[in-house]
């Protein structure tokens, strides 16, 4: 008798690899891991967290090792690197070691709350999206801890970007997203920029390659510990990337 595989069994085999690139996050890492475990264990999805620490001098890796002992090496996977390399290469490094068929990318600084991950997964399953992006700019989303100037820059930059690039996603610089693994690999391969504008290019390339994008409103609580940065050099980087993508995609 031929075995028939039901839909529920197919989705049951889905696994989500959460990539957490860290650099000096010893205060935040235990809490983000605790929250991930809390919200994903209760949702019942199969997952692993891959911590990619870039040789943090504050001992983030020691904390990560302790967390691995507490939660088990099936759930917490450590893939450290010797020194600080780019974000893009951190993702490539993470994907190589990921055993899931979906990849979730988020910041470890507590600005991205793991409670949204089950929502990303549900939306992805409902529509079979290639990418699900968290958005601060849609109803239900938002940002805590930003002053008028920061909001103005953010909204202004977003307005110009939407007008020039029409990306089909409302939050381009956010980095809380879920990708199908092969899609993420292709997007990384096609991206040229580095630094935080890399996130913007990923979404633009996704549009260019005709991938489908879903969005989940997220609340973004700006760095509880440590300082958040937005200086002149970030703005120039952003403007350059915007013009580059405007002229080439």
């Amino acid at each position: 008798m031929a075995a028939t595989v039901s839909d529920s069994e197919i989705t049951k085999s889905d696994k989500y690899s959460i990539l957490l690139p860290t650099y000096n996050e010893r205060e935040n890492l235990p809490i983000i891991i605790w929250l991930i475990v809390k919200f994903l264990d209760s949702s019942g999805y199969d997952y692993e967290v891959i911590i990619i620490d870039d040789g943090s001098p504050d001992g983030t890796l020691d904390i990560a090792k302790q967390l691995q002992k507490i939660y088990g090496s099936g759930k917490i996977v450590l893939r450290p690197r010797d020194k600080k390399l780019g974000l893009g290469t951190a993702y490539i490094h993470g994907i190589k070691h990921a055993t899931g068929n979906f990849i979730i990318i988020m910041d470890a600084d507590l600005s991205h709350h793991p409670k949204f991950i089950p929502k990303f997964i549900e939306l992805q399953r409902e529509h079979d999206y290639d990418v699900v992006s968290g958005t601060r700019y849609k109803d239900g989303g938002g940002v805590h801890g930003w002053d008028f100037k920061r909001k103005l820059i953010s909204r202004g930059a977003n307005f110009v970007t939407q007008m020039l690039l029409r990306p089909g996603a409302s939050d381009l610089t956010g980095s809380f997203r879920l990708y199908k693994k092969d899609v993420l690999q292709k997007l990384i391969d096609s991206c040229v920029s580095k630094g935080y504008v890399f996130q913007m290019e990923m979404i633009i390339r996704a549009r260019q390659l005709d991938y489908t994008i879903g969005e989940v409103p997220i609340t973004f609580v700006d760095r509880v510990y440590g300082e958040s940065k937005l200086g002149g050099s970030e703005i120039i980087q952003f403007a350059k990337a915007l013009l580059y993508l405007f002229a080439t995609t």
């Binding site: 801890g145 307005f159 609580v221």
Partner: protein, 92 residues
């Protein structure tokens, strides 16, 4: 076609129409009567668009959700996580 080319083609189409009116290539009494308006119409358009952009951006800045609830909830969760992790033997 890149976004840049899309913009260039749309803008040149508008420019062609405007230039044919201003340069007198299309003749009609209505055009002559409103020549001044036609002449400055690109500037008017840019000003109106600027006003639209400023209004929309400011509206979005002032209605940007501050997520007070989410921030409070996170603070509570941080306390809970610290207690639980200390119980589990984490040396911070």
């Amino acid at each position: 076609m890149t976004k840049l080319l899309e913009w260039i083609s749309v803008l040149s189409a508008f420019f062609a129409v405007w230039y044919s009116l201003v340069g007198g290539y299309v003749k009609h009494p209505m055009i002559e009567k409103n020549m001044m308006l036609i002449l400055v119409s690109p500037i008017i358009f840019v000003i109106l668009f600027g006003l639209y952009a400023v209004t929309v951006i400011l509206y979005r800045v002032f209605t940007f959700n501050n997520c007070e609830e989410a921030a409070k909830e996170l603070q509570e969760e941080i306390k809970e996580a610290r207690r639980d992790l200390l119980d589990k033997g984490l040396k911070w």
